[in-house]
Symmetry: C2
């Protein structure tokens, strides 16, 4: 411990200690990047000076209707101007930002609004009905609605609630922001997707989000003034914290209401988009884009992908098109990505298939994390042999404060001084982690563990397959057997027998799916395949 013999007069004071918060980035950017484009969405374009002014008006208007520091403000918004502005405008009045998935059912929405005690809900006109329905079902105090119309996209104000532009026009653009006096203060409340049971409310602090913004540019090879397209919904880990990061770099955020290959290609060609994040399904979308939606561009576009390991075939396909893909890994509980598949240039000369296999690994700790590793059930580091499986655990400043109003679940997730991911992985000799499966997605057949991801990777290499998911199907003899669900590429065909034969040449017999079902895969709004739905189908498939 580095305390010197005499530490008199060496304590913290106003001059040398300022709580870390991503809010500071926009305050700085409003001056140092004043006239640079900060936000683009449809016909809306704002410089940093204008962005800062609009954010200040939002904060001021929220304070004006009684939002107090520590209060929760909920948003149900696509990645539009209002959602981008809420990233700063809500915490700038001291409130806690609760971005909610726009596709939730009314019951879950009601639960979240009650549990978080939201004081205000900012909602896009498209999603107004379910919010009104949820409010009608709520017990206790009901939040005020601010409706966000998007006339350019055909969503007009209902007239039943204050509209966003009117609302902020009453705010003060020189409003003095409520900055945290302690960097541990709460910044955001994000409910997990909760495939079983009630969603849990993950609480972020200012310190963690600030450090996310400082570490990410290094991993993402960002220099000043990148152009970032908000593909990942901002209701998913606050879009991996990227809107909080962009003012640090003087970058531009390009909003996106509906994710499509066309929208992405247009962003790249017209706005010069240099970076975006997205689930592997977004990568597939780009690879399989129709010719008339593709655009030419002459810069390399950096993609962070997460949510599932990208299939080698997808990686090979997209990198030929001018994109460089880095897989990152994390959870809502870790503010998004905290592990990166850090590329080593000595791998540059490997064959494409080997490179893809390496890129399918989740990787190593990002700069802002302390420890990310794999342990066995006793908490002991597993051998880094690429075979032994264990659970991914993490420690660092980008780990949540805990679950809101759920100290028991918090304590459980932090057992042994690490956050427990419930993801099963091996670790390679260079310490790179590779996910074998979600704990609950492991298929146990005849006592053998089968990684659903491994089987999916084998199926994805089939030239007719666009997307697939493998889940456990109950089996009298083996306990469970793998059951595959497959989406085919347009114009391509394959039979169950062909797919099974194809996989049998690559994997051990017990890992080969016993059933292959061809159908559209159910997905969350963030592109994650909803395996719990498939498990229901698999039972009788």
């Amino acid at each position: 411990m580095g305390w010197m013999a005499d530490e008199k007069g060496l304590g913290k004071c106003q001059a040398n200690y300022v709580p870390l918060t991503p809010l500071s980035h926009l305050q700085r950017a409003a001056t140092v990047f004043a006239d640079h484009t900060a936000v683009v969405y449809g016909s809306h374009r704002a410089t940093y000076k204008q962005y800062h002014a609009r954010v200040s008006k939002l904060a001021s208007a929220l304070a004006g209707i009684g939002v107090m520091p520590g209060d929760v403000v909920t948003t149900l918004l696509p990645n539009t101007t209002a959602q981008i502005e809420a990233s700063f405008g809500v915490p700038a009045c001291g409130a806690v930002l609760n971005t909610v998935n726009t596709r939730l059912d009314i019951g879950t929405l009601t639960y979240i609004l009650e549990h978080g005690e939201a004081k205000v809900v900012m909602v896009d006109s498209q999603f107004l009905s379910p919010v009104e329905a949820a409010l009608a079902l709520m017990n206790g105090a009901v939040p005020k609605i601010i409706e966000v119309a998007d006339p350019d996209s055909g969503f007009l104000a209902s007239g039943r609630h204050p509209e966003y532009e009117d609302f902020i026009s009453k705010g003060n653009d020189s409003y003095s922001w409520v900055m945290p006096s302690d960097e541990w203060e709460s910044l955001a409340l994000n409910y997990t997707s909760g495939t079983t049971g009630r969603p849990k409310g993950v609480v972020y602090h200012h310190r963690g989000a600030y450090l996310m913004t400082m570490g990410t540019p290094i991993s993402w090879r960002m220099v000043l003034k990148p152009v970032f397209m908000a593909i990942v919904p901002l209701f998913h880990c606050n879009g991996w914290n990227h809107t909080w990061m962009m003012p640090l770099l003087g970058g531009t955020v390009v909003g996106c209401r509906d994710v499509s290959a066309k929208a992405i290609y247009n962003g790249i060609a017209e706005e010069g988009v240099s970076h975006f994040g997205g689930a592997p399904i977004v990568l597939n979308m780009i690879v399989n884009a129709r010719a008339e939606h593709r655009r030419n561009f002459d810069h390399e576009v950096e993609i962070f992908t997460a949510g599932a390991p990208p299939a080698p075939a997808t990686l090979i396909g997209i990198e030929k098109l001018g994109f460089n893909v880095t897989q990152v890994y994390g959870l809502t509980e870790t503010y998004g990505h905290v592990v990166e598949c850090l590329w080593d240039s000595i791998w540059d000369e490997l064959p494409e298939s080997d490179k893809s296999a390496l890129k399918a690994r989740q990787g190593v700790a990002m700069p802002m994390m302390d420890v990310t590793t794999v342990v066995d059930s006793t908490g002991t580091q597993i051998p880094m042999d690429g075979k032994t499986q264990g659970e991914i655990v993490m420690r660092g400043n980008s780990v949540m404060k805990g679950y809101y109003k759920n100290p028991e679940a918090t304590e459980k997730s932090f057992v042994g001084g690490f956050f427990h991911s419930e993801d099963i992985a091996v670790q390679h000799s260079n310490s790179m982690m590779q996910i074998a499966d979600r704990m609950k997605d492991i298929i146990i057949s005849g006592g053998e563990n089968i990684s659903s991801i491994e089987v999916e990777g084998a199926i994805m290499a089939h030239p007719a397959v666009s997307l697939c998911a493998v889940v456990a199907k109950p089996d009298d003899k083996w306990g469970e057997v793998p059951c595959a669900f497959v989406e085919l590429l347009p114009g391509k065909s394959a039979t169950e027998t062909e797919v099974i034969a194809f996989v049998r040449g690559k994997l051990a017999g017990f890992k080969t799916p016993k059933r292959v079902v061809f159908q559209d895969l159910p997905k969350t709004s963030t592109g994650k395949i909803q395996k719990f739905e498939l498990r229901v189908i698999a039972k009788t498939a």
Copy 2:
């Protein structure tokens, strides 16, 4: 303040709170950049795995001779392997790193060793004599000497003290580092150059150095694996914290014993040096390099320059040679640079002279700082009109803890919640600060303030002038008048009358130097011109 209605279970714990320290970067790099080159100096080359092992041995060996957490370990070393390793090895055993200027007189050295209560001194064989002399003069406990020989450079071990390589060979490469349990713990002790009175001991904490390393890559447009040449002595603000930063990026540190144009060109051509910092005098050295010392290279080299505003003529000269210069500004008290001359691409099309004038501005707050601005004597923000002068003040996490054993000086420097730089500046309408002068370097002539920097800039534009410094000369009529000291370029000549006539065409009459003296300028080891010596000469010039 963002405290939610119910913060139960949302406190800090081992999983979600880790004290910030630059030590974490090398621990991560030893794994994620294991086989990448970390340090190059002469014939020494080490990968990150090897660097980490040697640092661990150093820490272990220091602990082995009784160095305890909080103890001070002093180094008197050029930018050699040992000095680079001490950046991590000393704090890794919990000790406080006290890098000392190798050119100090014995009296000042004795004062520093006594004041800091150094337990160990690591000293290069070249500088052993003054250290031995200082130890002989010391009152109280005398530090142990570890001698660092540099046989490649002709400096052999004296045989009178343990030698560095022997010393660390007894250390344990799997020594468990002493990590801070509080990020406010002391990391380094840096004595100011103290041109008047005793030097003051500036204390750095782990948090501040960590945040320096996170903010600097953004300002310096660094992506992964830069090659950094240590030109700025590591005893000057710990080389602006760059050795602490490099493992974050997986970069390579190239040591440098003696700074010369030849050494810099060789580093660029042979090691691929991409970044270095240096005073404007280093830029001059490059511009004026002899033909046989120049090397060809095909990448752009990024230079941070600080210590004095670079003269426009120097900037124009060096940028033609493949270097891009960014002026940064800071003080020992701010861990080095905290202000950057952030370039706006809209200035790209301006004439060279306008661009140079913009680059001579100190600039705006770097990302890790909260506020850097200019205030009048009452602490009020000055008008941003490019004319009104005030003092530069700073607030942020990269401001020192304070002065060691000097709470009065600490309190004085932090008056009003800002660190007071004692530098006089104007602020332009885009908030960019431009130093007019050090408070003590201002020349007051007939009641008018004359910026010595402005006069120097005018003289530097003369085609025969290599370097110059302007100081106050006492004058019966005007109080003070400007007196210029000039170094001419090799083979060029100029007379006093010519220089005065040249300047008179550019500046107001009262700003024109009344005397011009041609001589070599006295400089500190960091390239700063020692004006206090010139003031003595000016009295009778």
